[in-house]
Point group: D2
Chain length 501, copies 4
């Protein structure tokens, strides 16, 4: 979990490369209950593989056989960790929960890899979590003052401690007790010896879907995981809903007062896989409509529409279809992990050589190019791409962002740079255009984005979506932040947390 | 190197999965001469990364500093092996040669990873090779009978032994002596303490290009490697040409009688990266023209054109442009190595779930789909995709192959199944259509492919390209095969080659 | 930690080989406070290396720099984990604590490797522990019922939770609060940002010594660690003593009522290194006197005295000196980890071939042999050795155990087989002699052992030493055992503890 | 193999630590022919484990099943590489040959690990070799000039090339052809698909013994390997003998003119395991007699005799028995690999702290100590031990070396320092005594050593043993050395050998 405002953990490990101009979502979750033949963990592994785009640095699976829990947590991709051997012996049982995450740098933070486990006096519980708590530090400090010992810096562990300390007798009641104390955006999947529990935050900021696979029940962050597992989509878990699955079937609880949903727009803009359907909307179609909107809002006379692959592809297709300008693969993406190359310093080498994107000269030479990206964060990647496109012979480069300018940080599970590093938060439109070295620059408007969502215009009083990165209108209070900024008198103490291998 | 006719090496390791329905090219090569600051190997690493699509299973780099050679050979991707640490200390020197290869399964065949090295009495020599010798076994048996000891089953080692045993005084003359004895398709890059040598087979079957990076010279399999290294394209190495680079500059030798070039068509169809220019032709544009040809030859009334990503994308764009049918990303490809997943056997699971390609229901539902693939080998992948597309709601599926039917095996470096497993070699068109469960099936014609190459119709007397996989017309004799089939009386002995860890 | 009576953790990993006939002590601890130049962890590594005989399967070091803790925990030997690279960067700080342990099988129990850490609201604390708590399960269940979450099955974590939950304001008072609740045998070393704390159980069952290294203070399980670190021995930490070291120097606290010390005899018999001085007695000299006693109690007419190396060497020298029978190395020990060899089943192979001990025929052939071992546990090793000695030509074999018969299990940190597997607990002397296939068998008497300790005869009312394995007279109550046997009505619940990789 | 005079291979890896004051023998070999149930390799693994003292850095095993060879070569101990899993599947077959070696630093020289393999036109052959060729460079250069390609710097590969190039028809004749050209000390074990061949150099410098295990035949460097394998000793392979084992049984060939044997004395002094019988003599008994001789030649009035463990133990026992001075373990050896510890620089630390040997104060304090070592090489270890013994309270230290002064380098497989670093070759006795900081210093005389061998006085005309390290009298010519020193006009060229990972 990232806590950008105050993250006091000492890092041994190499800092993330400063040029890293990409947003990251921090997790995908998946759970299966009622699978025959000890195959729950194998099915979860398929689901996690389909959710790999939500976090590529670490993954874990816990399974329950009888009352015993088994778990494995690994740094690396799901396919490497769980793909190549039979899991029925390694992780037996008919119920299983899994997690894939970004943001575990190096081996040092194995302890932060989920699912997390606790041995309650009512039996064990394993929890996987996607999202971020906005009162994490507040709760953690309170728990430490009460004598709780933390092994990680993970939100999930705060939730486990809240469950463990609840005075309620039954585990579902304890779980709801814990939910009552946490704030932020989250999707949770928990397994106890007898039950699978799923929960989504009161606003439905983070997604969670329910499916069936034969007689088994499935929970997952996105529908693409259901497809890969071979499961059938049943419905979205609703905002503020707790689903409890056990041998009596599924019970839906709504323990908290009803509020309007407000799902996160960035799932549509960037995070979710294009073949997923999130809250009833096809991600691919939303992105294409973002391209249509861009073509309407920022038309230009040009020869080719070129996506920044892969995330810019649907919007570029939409732009091309709406504008009639031909779509071409003017940039080729290498899918062989190339980000970490140490580059030779050799003088003769052209600046800005990139390992991941290569310009396709035959498409670009002598052309006026409309370059479509899903969003612009720091702009450091964009300017390199623009230069590469020009070096390949483009006569004009017009950059279009399929989302509005990113102006404010996120606190609900998106790993964003500090506000000082967000390009749009610090530059005028003309400054940005000059800095990005493009002939024209256009961002989709917030209303354009709402239109792409087929949601009518934004309602400022009760916005239909979580959109603070564009508007500054946060959907919840931000307790940790208020405390850090002195708006609250509780002073968050520095964690002296252990850094271990 | 594969020697499909007789490969007697015992395999400890798991067999390649039988469902693996993909062609593989066996190598990419890259060399740098004259780089300042011990950076030759770092530049070669960038080049190999750009050539990763030519072989993902192993890679190696050798460098020369003074008269000393250094080398590292690894199983795995270039980025993993060479990406993340400074190579100037690990592999110092101003000259370096590298290789990336497919077909090294497991750790067992580390000895087969190139570049290969020999310590001649004239000094060391390191050789990297792409292609395949058609008289490999003949030469190898002859050399063993003369007392040569082999450490690998690689063509490169045969070439090294021929060089070592040449009676010529100078290393370039020895190298040419060796070339005079080998047959087949090849691109070679060699480093000696003083020189870099590049060579291409007499017909130019395998590609090799020459570039400059400041004062340094560069050789690589494809232009995309030049782009990534930051080098400028100078020209293709010509068929039958030997280029010798040393402190006196570049010398071009043509030691053998002039013949017409006959480059391999599969480089355009599948192997080369779309942003490469091979023998003067943009691969991307050729592929788009293949799509145009397909639209002409096999028009159909349909709602969407959907590529099998990534290799089918340019032809699908071409088909869409020529036909006016909209292009959509109806299949999403996961780039997280998923091939090796052990799948749960669970009854409820839908047949044919695939880890690599996911159908995008929002594009396919209720649509008549034209599905474009670059080629059809066994057809096992195609039928799974067709089923997935139908399961996602397509009402019709029309499959189009951007290359002609594959009827004959290759012996020049493409890893193809046995003829018995080539779909088109064993089925009638209608049988294929039924087996692939499509509403219609179309292959580009050989003349259509020649047209896409902008090469006029095929000249049967002197075909302009290597195209035996479609026509059965092999560009060279096949000595090993003739011997194996008894057309020659020398009996190829079984290698008792060591299988080692 | 071992809890032989009830260890409900599921084991994935291979069971310890059933033939494993050796006692194991579970830990060595070491701490340094006040080292200059970030070298505390390097000094601790030296100390742990000298304590390697107390646990070879895993080791860990934590260091404190300013208020930040760093830690590394590894499966394997100290030299492998910490030997070969500079630790000043990896584990910086002037204070450090380390631990080496037996009983971490496989990678699965990394979480059990010490030192353990907690982030209290007064700051961090790292604890290393040697020994075993006899009320571990009682406390753990109580803590879980209060909402504590455990990550391990280690005693240290119980102690950390007790510290974390103490209502006292200062960390030393919290530490003493925790000591007041634990029962058993233990030596503890803890580091906080400002202090090093050492403690020994009220009877001094487990050893702990205090030393100085320049201005720095050192704590370690044995004096041999002081020697290797280059430190000077100051004194034993006393039974029931808590030493607190900080910038004001050393304070000695005795928070609990005074009792007579009762150190563990097995430290002298087997565990401590012969060059250590434990509680003022040279281990080597005690062992030699055990040999003297044996020669007095069980004299025999023989040709050579042969030790079972290495632990039987000092007693055999003592036996030889007292009896005048020459001492010879009749059994050669291989020090290259050979225990795990999978042996060929080949019929021709002689039974009982052993990888660790080889008979030295030139010493044994035609001789009457007195074979001296430190102790006899199951007897499975002994009988193989006896056969090997006879196969090498010995005409008579007289086995002598330098310690009394082992009759009762231990609960203070020695990993002993169940009582059913202890040879002497289940056989008459003559049965043992016959089963061990020896001509005569002799054990040192309990009084003989007390004499070797130069302690006068055993005082049955207030025994001078912990000796329950010989006498059944346990030095403390055994709460967990009493509960398990129903003597108490609290039923210890099964842990559903996670088994993780 | 070490070639001290000219070893031009570039080393990436860390140099051996300069303080390393120990001789090393470079290999142990072992072979089994005719084992049932694919167990040959498992039996070889046991034998190699028993020969681990002859080389701890790398090991390899090759097996033959039908005509196919399988091999594994590893850096590390035999138990780690081959101990813990069933080898019958990994290395199947009824015949197998293995090798353990010192001198493979790092992973870089995997290619040098034996057994080495060649695929001859008569079938495969695997060769393992202990010893060193004195005409290695001469032969290697000759072979390279003829076009041979080398993959290693190993003597074994020279032998393989000689076999491969022999014009003889049968493999045994080719093997003898190769023996006719090599010079030096060696023991060889080779496996072909049908035969096992063993050979010892004409003087029997390096040992090799023959045994039986049921119907199978066994060859090994020492009898201790036979014991561990469960095999029966048959006889030594004789000097200059070639034994050929196949389904017709054992044939003994003596292809070269008869000469007197001259085995290496250092096998007795240091290398062989004490429980081995080498050339009919018990190593343990010879060493004890060396102690007797020392007591006679260098008597002293003292309180205790203390060995430098483990190699000094038998001589110390002999000294004690002959002198009547009590034998005590005054130095404790840690068997947990401690050599590589990076030591803290901390000022307070006592100089000369050692990780491997610890003084036992209870034995040394206030005593006059006779310290017995097997030999003195550089003296750097000795002086540290002497200081440690004094620091532990010894009042006098009298050092005795159980072998004569080492004055000359070895060229037959012992890894010795350059002559400039041999203490005795560069200092007077009094200088040595002062430098070693001892009260007296005594070396066994050459005649004393011959007496310990029960061989009568040395015959200067035809010495009974290889003893050049003491006498300068080399048993063979030293061709490579003569060439290097210009005594021959062929100039050995520098190898430009590849340094690879």
């Amino acid at each position: 979990m990232s806590h950008r405002l105050a993250d006091p953990v000492i890092h041994h490990w190499p800092e993330r490369e400063s040029d890293d101009d990409q947003l990251r979502l921090e997790c995908g979750v998946c759970g299966v209950w009622g699978a025959p033949g000890n195959e729950a963990s194998s099915i979860v592994a398929l689901g996690l593989h389909a959710l790999q785009h939500r976090g590529q640095e670490a993954c874990g699976i816990a399974s329950v056989a009888d009352t015993h829990f088994h778990t494995e947590r690994h740094v690396g991709l799901v396919g490497e960790a769980f793909g190549s051997t039979d899991l029925t012996g390694r992780l037996p049982g008919s119920a299983s929960v899994g997690h894939t995450r970004y943001s575990t740098s190096g081996g040092s933070f194995l302890r932060n890899i989920q699912p997390m486990f606790a041995d309650l006096d009512t039996g064990g519980i394993a929890v996987a979590h996607n999202g971020n708590l906005t009162n994490f530090l507040f709760l953690r400090n309170q728990l430490v003052a009460e004598g709780a010992i933390f092994q990680s810096t993970s939100d999930s562990e705060v939730i486990l401690h809240l469950i463990a300390r609840s005075r309620k007798a039954r585990v579902v009641d304890r779980f709801i007790d814990a939910l009552a104390r946490i704030e932020g955006g989250y999707a949770l999947v928990a397994q106890t010896p007898k039950k699978m529990i799923g929960a989504r935050d009161p606003l439905g900021i983070r997604p969670l879907v329910l499916g069936r696979l034969g007689d088994a029940w499935v929970l997952a962050s996105e529908t693409c995981a259901l497809d890969t597992m071979g499961a059938t989509f049943v419905r979205d878990v609703e905002h503020g809903e707790v689903v409890v699955i056990d041998e009596d079937g599924l019970r839906s609880l709504k323990p908290f007062p009803a509020r309007a949903a407000r799902p996160c727009l960035f799932e549509y803009v960037y995070f979710a896989r294009p073949d997923s359907v999130v809250n009833g909307r096809s991600v691919y179609e939303v992105r294409k409509r973002m391209g249509h909107g861009l073509a309407r809002e920022h038309a230009i006379d040009a020869d080719v529409v070129v996506p920044v692959p892969d995330s810019g592809v649907p919007a570029a297709l939409g732009y091309s279809q709406a504008s009639g300008i031909p779509y071409e693969m003017g940039i080729i993406r290498s899918h062989y992990l190339g980000r970490t190359f140490i580059q030779p310093s050799q003088g003769a080498r052209q600046k800005g050589v990139r390992m991941k994107h290569s310009p396709n000269r035959s498409v670009l030479e002598g052309k006026r190019v409309v370059l479509i990206d899903d969003s612009i964060v720091r702009g450091t990647t964009s300017v390199k791409l623009v230069r590469a496109v020009r070096a390949a012979g483009a006569t004009e480069v017009h950059l279009r962002s399929a989302s509005p300018p990113i102006l404010y940080p996120d606190f609900y599970g998106i790993d964003m740079p500090e506000r000082e590093q967000l390009l749009a938060a610090n530059k005028t439109p003309e400054e940005m255009r000059a800095l990005l070295e493009v002939d024209s620059l256009g961002f989709l408007s917030v209303d354009g984005l709402y239109a792409a969502m087929e949601a009518g215009p934004r309602d400022p009083a009760n916005p239909q979506f979580t959109d603070h990165y564009f508007t500054g209108d946060y959907p919840t209070r931000l307790l940790d932040r208020e405390i850090a900024e002195g708006g609250r008198d509780a002073s968050p103490r520095q964690l002296s947390l252990l850094v271990s291998a």
